[in-house]
């Protein structure tokens, strides 16, 4: 074996020491780089000599810490994904419409309910579009828009009632804030209050009817006796042989007008009749419609109005046959009077959930929005004085409400009005 030359060994030793120093220097630089990432100061050579540095293994320590940081980040990501999925599920499953809108009124996202309620095309991508265009069909935000106020003030705003697409909504806007508390957008919640509003209106109408009914019954009762006397004495007077022709004519008018008053009073009493006085019977809706049509056939013919019927197979409903017939006569007569001359009334029956619907569609002028809520009020009429008592529809409404049904009136998209009487199917 060859013995190494001491000089070459010394040279190699020096060379290795230089290399070693470079490696240690490199390790120190990398350690300091890592320590800086960890937010602390660099390691000074006097704090840890080279040998202790290697033994202490700071790179290994920081690598171990990084491993845990990564593990924690992965776990946090998994939790965030889960939370995001849960939030998305809630976002879509909730019964209210939710939109997130940025400060330029652009829709960032919205849930399915919002889409169903306000977006015309279900597949339409509305992200990035202006909310006032998509939801309000405007080219700029409206003055009454709650989102405008929330963006300006940073406060939540509630708009109690806004009408869109023939429905009523309550709108609540809540500010969406950034880390510094500045309003960067709006969360808009849309609640469909149409049914609630209808129920409130019905309750109001019912209350009004009840009080009017009570008052009418009182007045009718008080008037019946004197009217009876007027009629009786005018008939007695008519028997007097000494009367002139003119006087006989005047007495005839008195008797006729008194009878008219009696008819109005009978109507008032019908309207005011209490529920317990009328036992709920059973009624064949199609049969009631046929009777009403039969009764008004001549009147329709005189007015050149065609009555069409489309009577489907519907179950028997709760209610008195004669009363429901009276309701249909009132509605049909109203339709004929509304059309005046030359037109058409289409009557259709069909099932809807547990109800039977009788629909009367006419080609008349329709009912103006401003008076639509009043047409079921007693004594409300648009007919000339003397032609109507204004009791027909209010009596009809009273009859239908008493047996658990509803009457609604809408203007037909084409022409005229549509009356829908919903009656409870007799189980």
């Amino acid at each position: 074996m060859k013995v190494p030359d001491p000089i070459s060994l010394q040279t190699e030793n020096r060379h290795l020491k230089v290399l070693n120093k470079r490696y240690i220097q490199y390790i120190r630089e990398k350690v300091n780089q890592l320590l800086e990432v960890m937010g602390t100061q660099p390691l000074k050579p006097e704090e840890l000599d080279d040998e202790t540095l290697l033994e202490f293994d700071p790179i290994g320590i920081v690598a171990g810490a990084f491993q845990q940081i990564l593990e924690h980040l992965r776990q946090t990501n998994r939790e965030l994904e889960l939370a995001r999925d849960e939030l998305q599920a809630i976002f879509n499953a909730t019964g209210v419409g939710i939109s997130i809108i940025d400060s330029d009124f652009r829709i960032i996202r919205c849930n399915e309910k919002q889409r169903q309620m306000l977006v015309s095309e279900p597949s339409e991508d509305i992200r990035g579009r202006f909310c006032y265009e998509v939801y309000c069909y405007k080219d700029s935000p409206g003055l009454d828009c709650p989102a405008v106020e929330t963006l300006a003030t940073g406060r939540a705003v509630t708009l109690r009632e806004v009408k869109k697409k023939d429905k009523y909504f309550q709108v609540v806007t809540t500010p969406l804030k950034d880390h510094e508390g500045r309003t960067k957008g709006v969360i808009e919640v849309l609640i469909d209050v149409t049914e609630k509003k209808k129920a409130e209106e019905l309750m109001l109408r019912t209350e009004k009817m009840v009080s009017l009914g009570q008052m009418s019954a009182g007045i009718a009762h008080e008037l019946n006796t004197p009217l009876g006397s007027i009629l009786g004495y005018s008939r007695l007077l008519l028997k007097d042989k000494n009367l002139t022709e003119k006087q006989i004519e005047w007495l005839g008018i008195i008797a006729e007008q008194t009878k008219r008053c009696s008819r109005i009073i009978k109507g008032l009493l019908d309207f005011a009749r209490l529920p317990e006085e009328t036992p709920v019977g059973r009624c064949d809706v199609n049969c009631a419609i046929n009777s009403a049509v039969e009764l008004l056939k001549k009147e329709a013919l005189k007015r050149k109005i065609r009555i069409e019927t489309e009577l489907n197979n519907v179950p028997i409903v709760r209610g008195s046959q004669s009363e429901i017939e009276q309701v249909f006569i009132n509605i049909l007569l109203n339709a004929l009077q509304a059309i005046g001359k030359d037109g058409r009334v289409h009557i259709r029956t069909y099932n809807e959930d547990q109800m039977v619907v009788a629909e009367f569609k006419d080609t008349g002028p329709g009912i103006p929005e401003s008076i639509r809520h009043r047409i079921f009020d007693p004594f409300f009429t648009t007919k000339p004085v003397g032609e109507g008592t204004g009791l027909g529809l209010s009596i009809s409404s009273g009859i239908v409400n008493r047996i658990g049904g509803t009457i609604e009136v809408v203007n037909s998209p084409e022409e005229g009005s549509i009356f829908r009487v919903r009656l409870v199917a007799d189980a």
Partner: protein
């Protein structure tokens, strides 16, 4: 009730970055039991900067950290998240 085991680390008199490296080394050593909540690491230091660097790193690693100041030193308690 199971009492948590406490790992005490006394680094009084030491300064950063040594403080941080010593604390991290202990956390690494015990990390599995720390995560499970079986053990907690309590660091005693009188180096103020360590009350910033150690909690910041330990929180990034997913632990809960409580810093308490006593008369002569700071006590940094590192435990599992809830």
């Amino acid at each position: 009730m199971n009492r948590k085991e406490t790992v005490d680390i006394n680094i009084l008199g030491q300064v950063c970055p040594a403080c941080l490296l010593v604390a991290l080394k202990e956390i690494n050593t015990h990390h599995e039991r720390l995560r499970k909540g079986e053990v907690e690491v309590v660091v005693r230091t009188d180096h103020r900067d360590a009350t910033r660097t150690i909690p910041s790193s330990a929180e990034a690693m997913g632990y809960r950290v409580f810093v308490k100041r006593t008369e002569n030193y700071y006590e940094i308690r590192i435990t599992a998240r809830q």
